[in-house]
């Protein structure tokens, strides 16, 4: 009789321990997915920032060719960033929201880069009016992308 009680108690403890362990493991897996997303977004944000700096530098130095090639590189990286972030599988609602924001941000950046490249080419051809229009449109896209990227970063923080 005493043995039965001990066996039942041990069984209950074992079940409880397994349940607690499973819960903790699940929680840690969710955290890992979001952490991976955060690493990806941060990493690509850094790359995008570097490319943007390159564009700004070329523009500041009045180098439209370099500005154009830098803008094209920015565009390529924005597309790569989109692909990389889309590949992530966030497990929480916050993570999924951050992913959507980041994807939208990189889409806007891609549009901005296209505008910068177009502005650079127009500038090379001496068409200042077109260059100005393209640059203004690109700035709107860039601003929208910025808001979304910062929002994504805040969600992932």
């Amino acid at each position: 009789m005493t043995n039965d009680i001990r066996i039942r108690r041990a069984g209950r403890i074992l079940t409880l321990a397994v349940m607690v362990g499973s819960l903790l493991t699940l929680a840690s897996t969710a955290g890992a997915s979001n952490a991976t997303l955060r690493v990806s977004v941060n990493s690509w944000s850094r790359t995008i920032g570097i490319d943007a700096h390159s564009v700004a530098l070329a523009a500041q130095n009045r180098h439209p060719r370099r500005m154009t090639s830098s803008a094209l590189r920015f565009r390529t990286d924005a597309l790569r960033a989109r692909t990389a972030v889309a590949r992530q599988r966030p497990s929480t609602a916050g993570g999924k929201r951050a992913q959507k924001l980041a994807l939208a941000a990189f889409t806007h950046y891609e549009a901005a880069a296209q505008g910068w490249a177009a502005a650079g080419r127009a500038r090379l051809q001496g068409d200042r009016a077109v260059a100005g229009r393209r640059a203004r449109a690109a700035a709107i896209s860039a601003r929208a992308g910025n808001k979304l990227l910062v929002a994504a970063g805040q969600v992932l923080r």
Partner: protein, 157 residues
């Protein structure tokens, strides 16, 4: 016999709980990094204001820079600076630095000197902002530069 079975049960339970807790603790940091405390300075945000003056056209000034020291916010600041730089370049009445622009327009030597330290997908934020003002002028590719930048016109738009 029962004592042994009870001891084994307890040991398994403890392992499960301990493993779960350790996993959760390990995942709270970024992959491959030791978990360390992060202090976010929100009371003294860095304000980046870029004003590029052009002789005739009205310069575009960043009026609402993104503040903070988050990676995404840094990237957003760089993108905003690029957007303003391109706008200024597009409407500038002054002539472009054509000779400087043609010097290695596609190898982005000036920019790559600056960004070589930062590139890559790691989390390393080290690197100096060197080469910003330097003009390496390596390799004169001649008319090839024009072709490649302008040939991307159809693809970019």
């Amino acid at each position: 016999m029962l004592k042994r079975s009870f001891a084994i049960t307890m040991a398994v339970g403890a392992l499960a709980v301990g493993g779960g807790a350790a996993s959760a603790l390990a995942d709270s940091g970024e992959t491959g990094n030791t978990t360390t405390g992060t202090t976010t300075m929100t009371d003294t945000p860095t304000t980046v204001a870029t004003t590029v003056t052009t002789p005739v056209a009205t310069p575009v000034t960043v009026t609402t820079p993104v503040q903070g020291d988050d990676v995404a916010e840094h990237a957003a600041n760089d993108v905003m600076a690029a957007a303003n730089g391109v706008q200024n370049e597009a409407i500038a009445e002054t002539d472009d630095d054509d000779a400087g622009d043609r010097h290695g327009a596609n190898d982005d030597s000036e920019e790559s000197g600056d960004h070589g330290h930062h590139r890559g997908q790691g989390n390393d934020q080290s690197g100096n902002d060197d080469g910003d003002t330097g003009h390496s002028g390596r390799g004169h590719d001649g008319s090839d530069d024009d072709d490649s930048v302008l040939s991307a016109q159809s693809g970019g738009e």
